[in-house]
């Protein structure tokens, strides 16, 4: 176990717990930023540099900022005295714990995963090769994703439009 992995994984998990449990929504958004940086560090450790920087650009630069904007627009920043969770919150926690337990036991107990000795290290493609693959092999998925992003952009803009005020009520007699 190398130290870099332990630090990145510990930081990611601790920040994720904080992001899901803090009371102030702005603090939650900032902890979410730390979580996404930790995951980007894990991507770097795995040798996927381009994905790591894309993660920082998209998740930290766009999604976390969007969450902060939504928090401010809906006036949910600040500390509230109301309960944070649904009342039988132990049920949700128990379900999540069951899912994690099932995944971890199956990962640790399965003999199907490739082990260290048998692994063949894939050569990480450079950004240039990645771009060439995106423009040749994966050009159709790329166009579909472009269409999806355009549709999402238009949809979000239409949803965010302020509805026109209803016409002035008829004058009272």
């Amino acid at each position: 176990m190398d130290a870099a992995f332990l630090i990145a994984a510990g930081l990611t998990l601790a920040a994720a717990v904080a992001a899901m449990s803090l009371r102030n929504l702005i603090h939650c958004a900032l902890c979410l930023v730390v979580t996404f940086f930790g995951v980007a560090a894990l991507f770097l450790l795995l040798g996927a540099e381009f994905v790591s920087f894309a993660q920082v650009m998209v998740y930290v630069g766009a999604i976390a900022i969007l969450i902060v904007f939504a928090t401010l627009l809906t006036r949910s920043a600040g500390v509230t005295g109301e309960p944070l969770a649904f009342q039988p919150w132990l049920v949700g926690l128990g379900i999540a714990g069951l899912v994690v337990g099932a995944i971890v036991t199956s990962v640790a107990g399965s003999g199907l995963l490739p082990t260290e000795s048998s692994r063949i290290v894939a050569a990480a493609p450079s950004t240039r090769e990645l771009g060439e693959q995106l423009m040749s092999t994966y050009v159709l998925p790329l166009e579909v994703v472009g269409l999806l992003l355009t549709a999402a952009l238009i949809g979000a803009a239409v949803l965010g439009l302020r509805e026109p005020k209803p016409s002035t009520p008829p004058p009272k007699p």
Binding site: T12, L46, A62, F86, P125, A152
Partner: protein, 104 residues
């Protein structure tokens, strides 16, 4: 424990934290954040399997898959937050348990 298993277990824990947040928190924005955490955990699994899965022939497949997954996550967040802001304009609340009727 092999390196692949370490990353898979970290991703499973991240998924569980996101799932717990999405299931228990009352605020709609944090439920969306929990869903983002779950998507990120899936991306971590993709990259871990790409690195240690042992398929040298398709060297870029895992990375390209994650790039598309990140794009879909961004689109989902944009539309989801626009929906939350629109609901807030009507109901003046982001608490999920107060959205209990279909009439606007």
């Amino acid at each position: 424990m092999s390196p692949l298993e370490r990353y898979l277990i970290v991703a499973a824990l991240l998924f569980g934290i996101g799932l717990a947040g999405a299931l228990t928190r009352r605020n709609a924005i944090l439920v969306l954040a929990g869903i983002e955490l779950m998507l990120t955990a899936a991306n971590l699994n993709f990259i871990a399997f790409w690195r240690y899965g042992g398929h040298p022939a398709d060297s870029g497949t895992g990375i390209v898959f994650v790039l598309f997954s990140i794009a879909v996550a961004a689109a989902e967040t944009a539309v989801g937050l626009a929906l939350i802001v629109t609901i807030y304009r009507h109901r003046h609340s982001t608490k999920l348990d107060e959205f209990d009727e279909l009439k606007g």
